[in-house]
Symmetry: C5
Subunit: 354 residues, 5 copies
């Protein structure tokens, strides 16, 4: 639940553009990493102060500044004033409860996305907000905590393999978004496997826990869908705005990410359909079991209640009960009892309850 | 329920533009507050008569007239004729059962919204209608009762901090709408917390009361959605109309409110999904309990009904019943009874009902 | 049900434009009322023959001809040929099973709507079709039976109060549509009150009748929605066509009706949501009651079936049953019985079934 | 089911445009009827060979060639080559599993529709495909079997009444489509009556058969909707294409059919809503009955199980049971039994189970 | 489940355009077939190396290169570099988990589709990805495994019958897509037949297996819909792009496929509606059976529990029980028992439980 809405009440009432960090409170220093490259050279350093990166703003090479940790408001502020970022954007970067979106400010494009992690044990999707500011020669990324899904992108930059070193900031932006979206696939796979194993569980031995798990996955799918759906609009925006910051030759790559997003949404929808159908299966299985229980009760009760009555009759103490004195009376009663039982069983067989 | 439709029948049949106050009847005098400011000066007074504010109509400073209470029709009427407001607008201001909307009248823009309050105890959303009339140099707001969510805006005006004193009426309008929308977040948080606690209740000890509460929250969500949804259209309208009353530099702020609105709608939808899934969980929990009850009944009945029959047989009073005279007859019956009970228990174990 | 489709088979196979009255058969003479007014004068007469109104066709004053009863086909025919109305329109006027719609014929606009009445006892919505033909200087209205919701409009014309006498036929059209739509609100109120009282009934003492009533109201809501939904299109059409017959200054009034229509649809949707949720509540209440019944059965059966067995054992007539001769045997059995009962009760308490 | 998909596998793999008759196999000769008319003359003949009609292709009068039976591929082929029809169209005419659609080929317009028949006994909708080819001076119609819904159109042509003789092929096309759509109304009426009678059955004596019938009607509604929905697109197309083949003065007639189609769809939707609500009613009625059964069981069992136990106690054969020797012991037991029964009944009354 | 998402995690993190085969691992050599034809000549060969086909790239005749097997990455690579295919397209060809789509690259059009096979026994839809690259004079198709649905197309090419030999690559593309879509119909037929037989099963003897099968078909329909839906967009794209590669005269053929696709989607929707309604039928049948079981239990229990009590009373051993000494006491008890049984049966008859 806390995933769906965070405590943002501490912000309500402040002036727009007031920088307040909304999210978990942290104390470590933010980590600033700088990668500066073009086709021929590559420099990677960890910065002590954000100011060390300012001289690169207008350099033609691709500058990627990655900031892990957004709880140090002054770092964001200095960054903002140097790179000319609107205060509402800075506010959005600090508020980790953003809906994924993209905004075009002519000089730069602001994109906010969610990196999703999947705790395999718990089947809980954990999300981390990542903000990207794409400028002419720079890309600034803000993450909530250290650790991301970009190692493959860094690798490709280091090895100089593929297109990445030959292309600009827009391609880097694409590469990062692609890495994030690719990671969604991995998450869906984990869920897909879990759903598969749940299906077997459902056929073999469904428990209330099974249903609980189905509901949990369903909720994670709701959450996931909420995160993935807006990415379509983001990429549509990037392609449509005709911004100078995005080269036409990069368009095809963004279209590729777009296709992936559609595929993820399709898969989420399929999962939701499958999960709904699993809930139905669960309920009908349970109801089948219940019916079986009721049948056993009915069979036992309908067989023995009448014959108990017969035994009760001949347990009465009336003085004048002729049958009691008959020689074969007792055996006759057993015969009647047996007839009742057998005819009952035949009746059940005919009704196919046995 | 009364939330969904108010008694407006007393108005049906009157000429359009006839001013009749639709809402709770009240007797206190309306309270009129005037705040007039620009970057350099600030004046705040409580007015006795609405006429005292008329000289400010064309003054270049920002004039914010706030009227608490709309039951004094003459106040509204004088205001309307001085500021040149269309009689249909005045009628709408008085009718507190409006759907949120915005209308552009060239000289002024009319916006109607709902302030929502959340009674924590009852989980009932209470709504108060607020009408805004944005003119060139003035903003008039009408509230049903005293008390609002604008204290932070007033604060910012007083302290002269942030942009608010440097900007015009359009920014003030934005600030008020933003305050209203921010308040929705606080309400959603309350509901979010309640939903979280309901979820625990659902897992531990669900009662019919739990279901009732889920249904109540669901209904509040329906109500909330109905109030929030039109705000998208309102802001879309403000941005699209290209009105002279709204400065282009304010657009980005309205877009920010728009994003918040989308986020609120998203959250409401998520809540509704979660609540639906909670109802399903509740029903399956109840059905599980029922199954358990039925199982106990079945086990007890299927074990004891047959053995009671056996005891009944040897309670019969036939003269000729050889078993009764056997020495170990009684113990033999106990042995049969025990066999039946044990085999029944084994059967249940195999069916995993025990 | 008959509300949803009327006997129109008697018309199938006739040439289009053939005038056949579809609806209940009636014999009384149609009643024709004429109101002719402008800002300075007013004339109201009941006409014997429709021909008496023809001279007014091109007179500049506003001429409102109201015809109660559409079963006299010749009246409609004469009217049609004099005022130049297309035969398909005349056919539509006679067919009381029309969907609300508006059509622009340059010289006149044809609008068909439903007046709805609410029989408080039965909670049944009754509908009457009203057709409006708006020409340059005339408005002709056709009603199925006498009695309508326009008394307030007539009143305003008589008293010369408000705008109505100063404005043209388009405003009169608006006033009539507004009166019809206002009446929908009154109907919704009645339903709202009924829903409220049903909610209390649901909490206190739900019966199958309660469910039946909920279903009935649900169906009326389906019917209502079907009638109200097209009004949006009608007004959109009127505003969009840019017809010469509708003055620009009247547009704002039609927009007002449009807003009301949206509000009615919103309310209907809310009612439907609430009613659905009430059905769920009903079903879960019933299922709770059922569970309670089952629990009582289980408790009684599981307590007494075992102890009855014990009593049965000592009712056996074996010759050699040592317990029967024990001095405290009888009391011992009572002790065993009491132990069983008490331990059962403890078990139920632990399961919280008691 | 076979209604939803026909055996078209025998066609898969053939070249497009290959003429193969898809539908029931038949042997009779196709029947070709020719009606040629204008305002002054009328000629109706049954043709032996299709070639006899070819000379009329360019004659100014309206030529309506109706072909009953599409199993003679050569007739279709000759027709096609003479009137210049595209081979894909001929293929579509032969394939009786088409979705209703219209296609504009400049020289002619191809329309395919379904005539629906309603077998009153079975409540099964039977469909027959009708293809129309509207040329400049001719209209060719293809039906699967003899017998159609056009007798009223033929009548009007014969009697020369109404507009039909004065107007062109487009009006004839309209008249035929109108006849088909009018027939849908008659079908809906039959269903409406059945639904009404089902409703009464539901209130009085619902059986599983009732539910089966509701489901059957629901399915017919699904089928009907599938046939009617595309007609909107067809007529929209006819109006939008601005084809020379359709006179502007005919537009208003097509709009009329359009309105009828909307009304039919509306009615189908209402029926579906009503049927869904009837299923809910059925289920809750059944569940009410079940509850009543359970209550009777509970009442009988909870009253008699305890008192049977009491009787069982005094049926024990212990030597020392003081009560057995009391003079009023027997009556005392009856008193206890009566007390138990009465208190049980009171309990049930309080729970309102009786 | 594995159908919905494949293992693509092994690709995550690679540079876009890196060629990695995603799908089942295979070892056989890929099979390359070349068909080159125009109206006068035809050549069909199986190639050893892909290079043998390169000289045909710019030849005016229609060249169709079909590649069965995509696990040999080098074949795809050489092909790509010779025919100038974008690396992202090559990547998509290798990734067999694509959503159907079409992309226009000016020089060529890339289309990806799914061929679906239907395992009749298992009712499982198996899918094979097919990629088409349509160039000026060539069409390259990539299939996962040997065996396809194109035998009829090859036949038509061989026999030179129909249009195919006279037309270009675009018509060949159409013919292949048409063959794929035609095959969907055959699959739907199989499902249709299965649904029909399930319906009978449902009426006669529904088992949990029936429900399982319904759910399985439902899921296959979800899968199918996911595959068919995008084909509409593909063909819309082909028609809309106005590409030089697609002749205007071929448009009508693509429109024909479009119509088929709509029809398939319609049929899938109908099947889903029917299947949902079958689930409802199943559940209500099961619940009917359950009710019958409960009724039998209730009847037996309510008849025999009271009379067993009566027998129990006269089995008591009180010394003073006057009835026991009455001469007709025993017969009187039988009379009472019979009365109880008969009145119970009458009660059940009146309740129509018998």
């Amino acid at each position: 639940m806390p995933k769906f809405i965070k405590k943002i009440s501490k912000k309500a009432g402040l002036a727009p553009g007031t920088l307040v960090h909304i999210g978990e409170h942290k104390h470590e220093k933010v980590k600033i990493t700088l990668i500066d490259y073009d086709a021929t050279q590559l420099k990677e350093t960890e910065l002590k102060e954000i100011e060390e990166s300012f001289y690169l703003k207008d350099k033609a090479s691709v500058t990627w500044i990655n900031i892990d940790g957004i709880h140090q408001v002054d770092v964001i502020e200095k960054m903002g004033s140097n790179f000319g970022i609107h205060s509402l954007v800075l506010e959005d970067i600090l508020n980790t409860d953003q809906r994924p979106k993209a905004q075009d400010f002519d000089d730069y494009i602001y994109i906010v996305l969610k990196m999703l992690y999947n705790d395999k044990e718990e089947l809980k999707v954990k999300s981390e907000q990542i903000s990207l500011i794409l400028g002419k020669n720079f890309l600034i990324t803000f993450q909530e905590i250290e650790g991301d899904v970009f190692s493959s992108v860094r690798d490709r930059i280091h090895r100089g393999k593929g297109r990445i070193r030959k292309m600009g900031c827009d391609y880097l932006t694409y590469a990062l978004i692609d890495a994030i979206v690719d990671n969604y696939f991995i998450m869906l796979e984990t869920f897909g496997e879990k759903i598969e194993s749940l299906e077997e569980e459902l056929l073999e031995n469904p428990t209330p826990q099974t249903l609980q798990t189905i509901h949990n996955i369903k909720r994670e799918m709701i959450f996931l869908r909420k995160q993935v759906w807006p990415i379509r609009e983001i990429i549509n925006g990037l392609l449509k705005w005709d911004s100078q910051l995005i080269n036409e030759s990069t368009d095809i790559y963004f279209k590729d990410v777009y296709d992936h997003t559609i595929q993820i949404i399709d898969t989420i929808e399929s999962f939701r359909d499958v999960l709904s159908s699993m809930v139905d299966m669960y309920l009908s299985t349970i109801s089948n079991k219940m019916n079986e229980v009721m049948k056993v009760l009915t069979i036992i009760a309908t067989i023995f209640i009448p014959v108990t009555f017969i035994a009760g009759v001949y347990g009465m103490n009336f003085k004048y009960m002729p049958e009691l004195d008959w020689k074969w009376g007792y055996y006759g009663v057993w015969f009647i009892i047996a007839s009742v039982i057998i005819s009952m069983i035949c009746y059940f067989k005919r009704k196919s309850w046995l």
